[in-house]
Amino acid sequence: MELVRYIKQGSWPTVLGYLLFVGMMATGYYYNITFVQLGLTDLGVRLIGLSEASVATQMAHLALMTCAIALAFGYIMKKLGWSARFRVKLRLALLVVALQTVLTLIAPLVKSENAFFTWIVLASLALGVGMPATFSMTVDLIPRRDRGYAGALITAAAYFAAEVFSNSWQFESFRSQILWVMVPGVLGMGVLAFAKFPFLEQLASQHRRPEFAYGRFVRRDASGGTRVQRSLIGLLVLMFGIYFVDSLGFLRLLETPLYMETAWQSAELNIRLAIGITHVIAALIGGVLYTYMHERNLFLWIFGIFAITHLEYTLHIRIGASNYAPLSMPLMYALAVSLYTVLNFTIWADISTPRTISMNAAIGVALSGWSATFISTALAIRWNAMQLPLERHMQIVDSLAFLFFLGTIILIFFQGQFHRPGQERPTSKRQEMERRSG
């Protein structure tokens, strides 16, 4: 682990960089999975009085707008060269956190559907700008070899806090919790963004060092430039699959009180603690596996676990155990979710250089994460209107997870068939562009 080496060397600015990145990303992700994904729904349904379908439609809008804004802003950052400028990214992050804090503060004032939509548009702006700005700081703050561990810490902290400290899934509760973190966060980010600390100068230049600059899947080509080893399209499809399977399944579980009240929303702290600890262990396992193994193994694990988990739910629904749900089901779910979240925090930086990170992260997170959320939400609304039974819903999700699992196996097999030692893999158009641009 590089962090241990930096501590032994007394390279404290770099160590502070780790803390800054993990703290910032964990807080951002916690905000996203609690306040945005759950709190907003509660605000819309319970406090404003909108129908569930209407709120789901607004959430789909949020996903679509965030996706578009992130893509546009990622492109702008790359074109203007902001992608490699740490100070600019820090200031952008400050703007985003400030906007999110204001939006969180004024959220109780939202009383109508139009005001809710306006709030959603502004939230999309913050998320869309924040995504490429914050993800691209990976190349400044976390060296290549420790990205798996950093992703693991972010995932572990965000999910543990979300699971253990969120005893009430109500808007007011999420709001007050996140404001305790966000207000000091804005002040801290403000100081970092504008003060002239020497350690910040060092952090701003770290992306020039090879251990930070080159992602794990970036290779040097014959002309001395860099190119991406892995196909971005392949990764996007796989990550899209994971997000899609997760959100399509979880959206329905959210509406099933038995599965929520015996697990994520349980009144018993022990149960929530068990899920939280599983998230932590799974995230740490994910970090280690990502560091030492081919990422394709992680994809296989994730799809496989999702397939088993949804099969468990399907079986449980079929045998009609109406008042009891085994804890193994949410624990397995937590396992899969933590593993893929680690991937999400690491993989985009590892297919990038400082120049391309903002665009790659935007494409990656927007096209896989937010577009999957948009499509799955839209589909869930449609299936609700059709009154699709819970068992059928979970069966479809399970089949999808299994198809992706199968697809990944086939993909690995054919990669092995066509790739022989000493041969270069065929490059995609995008990789070719990367190669030309150096």
Binding site: R144, R145, H207, R208, R209, P210, E211, A213, Y214, R216, V218, R219, R220, I281, A282, L284, I285, V288, L289, T291, Y292, M293, H294, W301, G304, I305, I308, L311, E312, T314, L315, I319, A321, N323, Y324, P326, S328, M332, L335, T353, P354, Q395, D398, S399, F402, L403, F405, L406, I409, I410, F413, G416
Partner: protein, 313 residues
């Protein structure tokens, strides 16, 4: 070989995928919790699997299928047309009970009234006894010493044979477990957790119980195989300290005796006593997986930028 393995994997996966649509091909009932009663005159069609809770099959009731007890408490006073199997939990066969198939006892607690009729006979398998984790954790020192005396020679002989017969495989596992300990432990833990969940899930389908048993066997075999390199390390260290002249296989056997003793005795420490043994098991199991039962050397993905010193422009 690789092609055959991939085709086999795809077939297996396609087989399971086809099961996603399976409906009413097989019927059965699973009891996980709560209290259930099959009243006199009532008939339950299909297999009955009990893994928790309580079920009372009253006199005059009929189960048209087999009964599997994997946990919980079953009181049978009615008629069971198939076989009865108990692995864990409690089964009480009252004087009115009539089992048309056989009774298999692999573990758990069985109370059988002498008047209860078992038409297919009774099979008791001591080898198939599943240890009760609660009973195991409260075993006394004398029990543990007895276990060491019985288990360690058998395991030492197995370790001797394994190192003698598969020296390269054991060397690969040892190298991987000692060099990539964290990775092995992580992979081992993940595979155990997911593997057990999958096996339990398969057991609930009843149809796949044979596959489950094979799976449990493979899991235990891999875990045991993964422990041998640790026995070898321990045996080597001990032989060096005590200046014993032993062969490699002999060191593994001596190490296994020590390892079994340490693992058994460490469990006398409450709460944390089992943790070192668990960690060791997971690391060894992970190493077996990474090296595919020691058939290959594990090499992590290369870091092509490792030797790069030039700054990024």
């Amino acid at each position: 070989m690789k092609q055959h393995a991939a085709i086999l994997l795809i077939f297996v996966a396609a087989f399971f995928l086809s099961a996603c649509e399976m409906k009413d091909a097989y019927s059965g009932k699973v009891i996980l919790s709560g209290e259930h009663i099959l009243k006199p005159g009532e008939t339950l069609d299909g297999e009955l699997l009990v893994s928790g809770g309580q079920i009372d099959l009253k006199p005059g009731s009929r189960l048209n299928g087999s009964l599997y007890v994997l946990g919980g408490k079953v009181t049978a006073a009615g008629e069971i047309s198939g076989d009865v199997t108990i692995l864990l939990g409690e089964l009480s066969l009252t004087p009115d009970a009539l089992v048309r198939g056989s009774l298999s006892v692999g573990g758990g607690v069985l109370q059988r009234a002498p008047q209860a009729q078992i038409l297919g006979g009774t099979i008791t398998s001591a080898a198939g006894q599943i240890p009760d984790p609660q009973r195991r954790s409260t075993r006394s020192l004398a029990n543990r010493l007895a276990s060491i005396l019985i288990e360690s020679p058998i395991l030492a002989a197995l370790a001797y044979l394994a190192v003698h017969r598969f020296p390269r495989q054991i060397a690969h596992i040892e190298h991987t477990a000692s060099k990539y300990t964290l990775l092995c432990g992580s992979l081992g833990l993940l595979t155990w957790f997911v593997g057990i969940s999958l096996l339990v899930l398969m057991a609930f389908t009843i149809l796949l119980i044979p596959v489950t048993l094979v799976g449990i066997g493979v899991l235990l075999l891999a875990t045991a195989f993964g422990a041998i390199p640790f026995a070898l390390i321990l045996g080597r260290w001990t032989a060096q300290r005590l200046k014993w002249k032993l062969t490699r296989a002999g060191k593994a056997a001596a190490g296994m005796v020590l390892l079994v003793s340490i693992v058994e005795l460490s469990q006398l420490i409450p709460w944390i006593g089992a943790l070192p043994a668990l960690a060791l098991m997971m690391v060894g199991f992970g190493a077996v997986l990474l090296t595919r039962f020691g058939l290959r050397r594990y090499t992590p993905p290369e870091d092509t930028w490792e030797s790069e010193t030039e700054s990024f422009a």
